[in-house]
């Protein structure tokens, strides 16, 4: 039976010369490498670590992290996924008990030198690898973004795998770390121009069709960064997509088809009708939402500006949350967008989101979202009804 090649230093890490947390982390990396038939480990430049919300990892997760934090520190720039609560604001209604345990989890990660900007968009807060870098990221929407839009290389890591990689500065070389795994295997042609929630709906359709494949999109119009953020999040939630290409746009699109005959690839064509059907399928209710929850993945400053302009001067009957990171919120505060949103009755919510927070405890019945990923998860993870639409169609004014 062939095992992965380890350097003499890696052998020492595995044998415990660098402490028990490094040893355990190395054991996890080696086991993952052996499972996936990796030949060796590669050095990484960045990590994004999931497994943060107390709602998902519970007491077991907290206990594991506290054990690791005794003697482990990460050795590459590392950021944290969203938590179950806004770490700074107390007026959202979450229980003090839940918050107490959540803060202990954050503290364990902080001790390991993981930057506690709890966000699913680390690429908006300075964790930005370079093209071709090997990295270990474990937030599925961020994995799709960083592989596809930035051109760094990561698999869809689990939380403990990404943490182990951050502690050792290494990850097993298999899957999307290898160029041959980054080729397209499905061509998606749009026969209509698209905008806004169309991107999420298309991601939802194609994620289901392609599973863990690599779709190659031919759009009829140009796309912005935030459009690709929505597309990737949906692809990664309805399917297990880690990488996609967009013709004339993403950095590896030419490479993606190199050496492939056009006729080898399956083609899917999507039109307005399919997009509208997907949108209808994603809504479980036709009522007006009592909570509109935006920012999945976490809102960029440009998205916050658009939201602020749409609600400016209105008085909303629905509750409105705009989920983002503390870094982007700081910019929104300074730009006056936070003020515009709050005057309309909305709230800027940091560190968390509608998927990982226990919103089912807060007495809402119908959640309104403009994210196909959120629409896909809220009914199953929170047991609530969901409406998937553009913000302007969900607003109810007083």
């Amino acid at each position: 039976m062939i095992f992965m090649y380890l350097t003499p230093q890696e052998e020492k890490m595995l044998e415990g010369e660098y402490g028990s947390s490094v040893q355990k982390s190395m054991e996890i990396l080696v086991a993952l490498g052996d499972i996936y038939n990796a030949e060796k480990l590669v050095n990484i430049t960045s990590a994004q670590i999931s497994g943060v919300s107390y709602k998902t990892i519970g007491d077991a997760g907290l206990e594991f992290l506290e054990d690791m934090a005794h003697d482990a520190k990460v050795i590459v720039p590392s950021t944290l996924n969203p938590a179950g609560v806004d770490l700074d604001r107390k007026d959202l209604g979450f229980s003090g008990e839940f918050t107490k345990w959540q803060l202990k989890i954050i503290e364990a990660y902080r001790k390991m030198d993981i930057t506690t900007t709890c966000t699913c968009t680390p690429y908006l807060v300075g964790n930005v690898p370079m093209i071709g870098d090997h990295i270990a990221w474990s937030e599925s929407s961020a994995v799709a973004y960083v592989n596809s839009v930035i051109g760094a290389k990561t698999n869809r890591e689990g939380g403990p795998g990404a943490l182990s990689a951050a502690i050792c500065g290494k990850t097993p070389e298999y899957g999307y770390h290898l160029d041959e795994e980054r080729k397209a295997n499905l061509i998606v042609e749009l026969d209509t121009k698209i905008k806004g929630t169309d991107y999420g709906a298309i991601g939802y359709i194609i994620g289901k069709a392609v599973g863990d494949g690599v779709p190659y999109f031919k759009f009829k119009n140009s796309s912005k960064r935030d459009n690709l953020k929505s597309l990737g999040a949906a692809l990664a939630s309805s399917g297990a997509v880690a990488l996609y290409h967009v013709e004339n746009l993403t950095p590896e699109y030419k490479f993606a088809l190199e050496g492939l005959e056009n006729s080898d690839l399956e083609k899917i064509s999507i039109g307005r009708q399919e997009i509208n059907e997907a949108k209808e399928k994603l809504s479980t209710s036709s009522k007006k939402p009592d909570l509109i929850c935006l920012g999945c993945p976490h809102a960029s400053i440009e998205e916050i500006k658009t939201i602020a302009e749409k609600v400016a001067g209105k008085e909303l009957q629905n509750e409105l949350w705009v989920c983002t990171s503390i870094s982007v919120k700081a910019a929104a505060d300074r730009m006056g967008y936070t003020d515009m949103i709050e005057k309309a009755g909305g709230k800027m919510v940091c560190d968390t989101c509608m998927v990982v927070a226990p919103i089912e405890e807060l007495g809402f019945d119908v959640i309104g979202v403009d994210s196909a990923k959120a629409a896909n998860y809220v009914p199953s993870m929170c047991g609530l009804d969901v409406v998937f639409d553009e913000l302007e169609n969900m607003i109810v004014e007083k």
Partner: protein, 135 residues
């Protein structure tokens, strides 16, 4: 029964000897097992209602949410975990959980163990040497 040695691959280090519990269904630790009692609570599972604590668990593979790794760790802390795991094909969730929890685990046995072994058989798992001994 004659003593038999089966070669396999180490996933998580360690050594254990004890009774096996065998299933042909894959297991999801999140939602499939109660970490307080070690009892299988997935009503669709072949081992529904049975306790896996302290047993050598023989499974085809794992499935389900990645949070399952933490559940295995929790079971070890609660002393409800299996004493070793033999999987036909390891997957990341159970493999990671076994290492986190320091439970010996092997995969890819070179014999048809799901049919050779039956509940209550005594087996020794030596993950470090990559062997299973059936007594």
């Amino acid at each position: 029964m004659q003593k038999q040695v089966i070669n396999c691959r180490k996933i998580s280090k360690g050594h254990a000897r004890g009774e096996v519990i065998v299933t042909k269904d894959s297991i999801s630790f999140l939602g499939g097992v109660d970490p307080k009692t070690g009892v299988i609570i997935d009503s669709q599972h072949e081992l529904y209602g049975k306790k896996i604590s302290g047993k050598i668990l023989v499974i085809p593979s794992g499935k389900g949410s990645t949070v399952g790794s933490y559940v295995i760790f929790q079971m070890a802390k609660n002393k409800t975990a299996p004493s070793a795991i033999i999987s036909l094909k390891a997957e990341p969730i159970i493999a990671t959980g076994a290492i986190m929890a320091e439970i010996p685990m092997v995969d890819q046995p070179d014999a048809d163990i799901l049919n050779i072994l039956k509940e209550g058989d005594i087996v020794e798992v030596d993950a470090d040497s990559g062997i299973i001994k059936i007594n």
